[in-house]
């Protein structure tokens, strides 16, 4: 088969939603051209080897046999944890429909950070923004905690080019309680970058001070750097506080709460917004599709045809302890299901190397490579159209889940 090259391919992995990837496809083999970020290039790459067979208990079986076995196991199970959910919106729809029939819990494997964000947004609310607003308006960008570019590679290139349409003078970037990686520094070349270090575990305090200072309190004990930052934020025309909730420590929900309060106060006199990043493997799309279909933001449970929401009980880490079957879906990357005593049906990336062989394994296609689909960007608002770029004989998670559902007794 002739080699084909696709330009301007949308990248679905981290949630930044770059759309300048060039893919070269030769049969089943895929290479991403130079310029693609290292992680995306690695995740898009395929050797060209034929997809592995479906397996039952490690033994190669036909696709149909695996589907039938999966259906049988669903029917025989008491408590099912639907986990992973690293899939496109159609995949999420199919999993939710199946879970509604079988009962069980549904969660995304990378939702921990998102629920830290929800601890603030759901209980008190916040003022948030999107990439293009930051790109054009933000004159002061505060990174709260660890550098998000470790997870969101090209984030600065995307949201903080040297000049912004409405920004007068150079933009300032302040790392509060974290430091830019070398790669981040090169993306931020030409901008004024400052670092305000905080002691180990001191990020909550720093933000509490910042919150009190922007609200007009006099805090003699606050560090001069924090005082100066408070003044800068009050003087900024569009200050942004950004963070990656997944990389915050266990006190992350408090860090976020304080950051939200800083922005809330600033908006009384000037403009400011939060940029909470959480979006790996279409976490944002799974969150949205679950909200509009079920009414809750993931971590939902189904029993007797009615759904419920419990952020603790239905979190994957807890749900697998109660489950006798885990249905693992991971189409974007070869992510491993959590260790547990439960049986496992894995609808997984074909290159997955399991620590423990699942009871049923069915290789699935990647949205945005093997089939069309929808994912969401990490700032929540923008949907990413994912296209098909090769035919390696792999079905989508949505198709496989639907077939399994239809095969049930």
């Amino acid at each position: 088969m002739a080699e084909t090259t696709s330009h301007d391919v949308v990248c679905p992995f981290c949630g930044i939603g770059c759309d300048d990837v060039t893919l070269t496809v030769d049969g089943a083999a895929v290479t991403a051209a130079k310029g693609t970020c290292g992680r995306a290039a690695q995740l898009f790459a395929r050797s060209g080897a034929p997809a592995p067979s479906a397996r039952i208990a490690g033994k190669d079986v036909s696709f149909e046999e695996a589907v039938a076995e999966a259906a049988k196991r669903l029917d025989a199970s008491r408590t099912i944890a639907y986990a992973g959910l690293g899939i496109d919106v159609d995949g999420v729809r199919a999993v939710l429909k199946l879970a509604a029939k079988t009962g069980g819990s549904v969660d995304h494997y990378a939702s921990e950070g998102m629920f830290r964000n929800l601890a603030s947004s759901q209980r008190k609310g916040w003022v948030a923004t999107t990439f293009a607003e930051v790109r054009n308006r933000c004159d002061l960008f505060v990174v709260v905690g660890p550098d998000p570019s470790k997870a969101y590679h090209r984030v600065y290139e995307r949201v903080l080019p040297a000049t912004g349409r409405f920004v007068e003078g150079p933009r300032r970037v302040v790392f509060l309680g974290g430091a830019p990686t070398e790669d981040a520094k090169s993306q931020l070349d030409g901008l004024t970058v400052e670092i305000i270090a905080t002691p180990e575990g001191g990020l909550v305090d720093a933000l509490s001070q910042l919150s009190a200072l922007v609200a007009g309190s006099v805090l003699p004990a606050a560090s001069p750097e924090i005082k100066a930052l408070a003044e800068s934020l009050k003087a900024a025309r569009y200050g942004v506080l950004a963070w990656s909730a997944a990389s915050l420590d266990n006190d992350g929900d408090l860090v976020i709460e304080r950051a939200v309060s800083v922005v809330d106060t600033l908006n009384v006199t000037t403009r400011a917004a939060c940029l909470p990043l959480s979006g790996r493997d279409n976490l944002t799309g799974a969150y949205h599709a679950t909200l509009w279909n079920i009414g809750f933001p993931l971590r939902v449970g189904f029993r007797d045809g009615v759904s419920d929401h419990d952020q603790t009980a239905y979190a994957t880490a807890n749900a697998v302890k109660e489950a006798d079957l885990v249905v693992w879906t991971s189409a974007f990357r070869p992510e491993l299901p959590p260790a547990s005593a439960a049986a496992v049906i894995a609808l997984s990336h074909p290159d997955t190397v399991f620590d423990t062989e699942p009871d049923v394994f069915i290789p699935v296609g990647q949205p945005g490579l093997d089939h069309q689909g929808l994912a969401f960007r990490a700032d929540s608002v923008v949907g990413l159209p994912l296209r098909r770029h090769r035919d390696a004989g792999l079905k989508s998670v949505a198709d496989v889940v639907t077939l399994i559902s239809e095969a049930r007794a």
């Binding site: 003022v127 607003e133 025309r237 917004a273 009414g295 159209p385």
Partner: protein, 552 residues
């Protein structure tokens, strides 16, 4: 699917001048056919004692998209308290003011609605909205793309690019987002708030672009007129909720200079400043202006008492309202050089002077606007109340005794400031059929909806003729979607899906060069990624594209 013959029902079809005539209605192949000429085999539905109408159409209800999801997130208690019951057609969702997709379709269908339009599709969020609308069963849908605060447009207007360039851009957006119409929310105001301006009157300049809401409004009115869209500009005007905004609303009507304009949730834009509380009804003045200007149509955005959540692209207004949030939480978001959103939960209280007067102002508008073809029954779901309150609202309009009884419960101060008690008008069934069917179809440009003539879609409803109009319109006896029975005795009996509607007037593709550059430089991604392809709508079924004059 076999043909269906509905017999013995009183047909109420104002679009075809039929007011209660007993005749058969036959649906074959999903469309209404001439009943006398049809001789094939049919299933028969006996509608004796019932009233037969076309499927109802809601032209303004926030049913999908990012802001709907934020309402669900914020109102988790409501979601918990309102679960869809288990059953053959259960979607496992729930909510009331924050209803999930499947429940939205079910509850609308049970009341006899078969088409509902989402009036605030922010372009950047259009892909989300379409994905969500796909999961709403039973209803035909479509979105109105929000323009008038987008930096690209404001830059075009302020740089003097000319009407033609604006028209090309509007047409490009309609095609790119698969939209049915153009909505303006607080023209220029949402944008001005991003530059820290807190209020923007009709003739006040945007701090950056130095153009006024009036200029934005008249430019876009001209654009949709010249592009040949059936639906006029769908306007959420300046100063929503601000006492004294009746003047802005009257000035806005005057600004149209006779060109068509639809003004939405006008109840929220009909406030005066008279009385001790400096808050009074401007309904009489607004209704008078609507009556005198046949180019104007309105929907009301009726308020009903109880808990709801307000969701709007108008972050300027919602930031102002954040202090009255109940429960005390709210979310705001600036969105992608396009618009914004603000979500504020709210309880309308019967004992509150302001809320009770809002209720009365809505009813005054309904009762004072004379032409039922230019007023539409809405609560601006969920902003004034959930759409499930429509049957109650219908009874308030049709039954003066019932209305007076409710009016009498309001605080005395409110009764002193409202003329609701003096208004004798009772809507007739025919008028209800107009405001919920025939007129919505007309203002959206549908030739084959909102009526029961041959060629219309087979969306047909049978209501039992109950003197309690609230009971009558709460649960239809039968609802047919494209000829398929989906509701029987008020219960869902089968599932069907509707279509998505859009317009796509032609444009000079020269505008694409500008937009490609805009996306590369300002947005940070590609215009071609932004554009929604046909195969993204309803699993490749695509949207139904309606003709516009310019697209020949």
């Amino acid at each position: 699917m076999s043909a269906v013959r509905i017999i013995n029902g009183r047909v109420l079809d104002p679009a075809n001048g039929e007011s209660g005539v007993v005749r058969d209605v036959v649906i074959d192949g999903g469309r209404i056919v001439d009943a006398k000429g049809f001789s094939g085999p049919t299933e028969t539905i006996d509608a004796r004692g019932g009233v037969v109408m076309a499927g109802a159409i809601d032209i303004h209800s926030h049913i999908a998209g990012g802001k709907s999801n934020i309402t669900r997130l914020l109102m988790v208690e409501e979601q918990r308290a309102n679960r869809e019951p288990a059953g053959d057609f259960c979607g496992c969702g729930g909510g009331l003011s924050t209803m999930t997709a499947h429940a939205t379709g079910c509850r609308y269908a049970e009341m006899g609605y078969t088409a509902v339009f989402e009036p605030a599709m922010v372009a950047a969020n259009a892909r989300h909205m379409h994905a969500e609308m796909k999961d709403i069963p039973f209803l035909d849908t479509g979105g109105y793309v929000v323009l008038g605060n987008d930096d690209f447009l404001l830059d075009l207007i302020s740089s003097g690019a000319g009407q033609q360039a604006v028209n090309d851009y509007v047409a490009w957006q309609l095609a790119a987002t698969k939209a049915m119409a153009v909505k303006i929310v607080n023209p220029g105001g949402i944008n001005a708030f991003k530059f820290n301006q807190r209020k923007l009157d009709l003739d006040e300049a945007n701090p950056h672009y130095e153009i006024t809401p009036r200029t934005i409004l008249t430019t876009l009115i001209k654009a949709v007129t010249e592009l040949g869209l059936a639906h006029p500009i769908h306007l959420h005007g300046c100063n929503l909720g601000v006492p004294g905004n009746e003047d802005t609303t009257l000035a806005t009507i005057a600004a149209t200079e006779g060109l068509p304009l639809h003004m939405t949730h006008v109840q929220f834009h009909s406030y005066g400043t008279e009385g001790d509380k400096k808050f009074s009804s401007g309904a009489a003045k607004i209704a008078e202006a609507v009556n005198a200007n046949p180019n104007i149509s309105i929907d009301v955005g009726q308020v009903m008492f109880g808990q709801t959540v307000t969701a709007s692209a108008d972050l300027m207004s919602q930031h102002r309202n954040r202090g009255i949030a109940s429960p005390k939480r709210w979310i705001g978001m600036d969105m992608e050089m396009d618009a914004a959103c603000g979500i504020v939960p709210f309880v309308y209280k019967e004992k509150s002077f302001v809320n009770a007067l809002q209720w009365a102002i809505g009813l005054e508008l309904f009762l004072l606007v004379e032409d039922p073809w230019r007023i539409f029954l809405t609560t601006d779901h969920p902003n004034g109340a959930p759409f499930t309150t429509y049957p109650h609202l219908i009874r308030l309009l049709m039954d003066k005794d019932f209305r007076d009884e409710h009016f009498a419960r309001l605080p005395k101060a409110v009764r002193k400031h409202s003329i609701v008690g003096e208004l004798k008008r009772e809507y007739t069934l025919e008028e209800i059929a107009i405001v919920t069917r025939a007129a919505p179809a007309k203002i959206l440009g549908f030739k084959d909806r909102g009526h029961l003539g041959a060629g219309a879609v087979g969306d047909v409803v049978i209501y039992r003729d109950d003197p309690d109009r609230e009971a009558m319109f709460t649960k239809a006896d039968y609802v047919l979607k494209n000829g398929q029975v989906i509701v029987k005795d008020g219960e869902i009996v089968s599932v069907a899906y509707g279509q998505t509607h859009q317009v796509a007037p032609n444009y000079d593709t020269g505008i694409e060069t500008k937009l490609d550059r805009w996306f590369d430089e300002a947005m940070g991604f590609k215009a071609k990624t932004f554009k929604i392809a046909d195969d993204e709508i309803r699993d490749g079924q695509g949207a139904v594209t309606h003709a516009t004059t310019r697209s020949a």
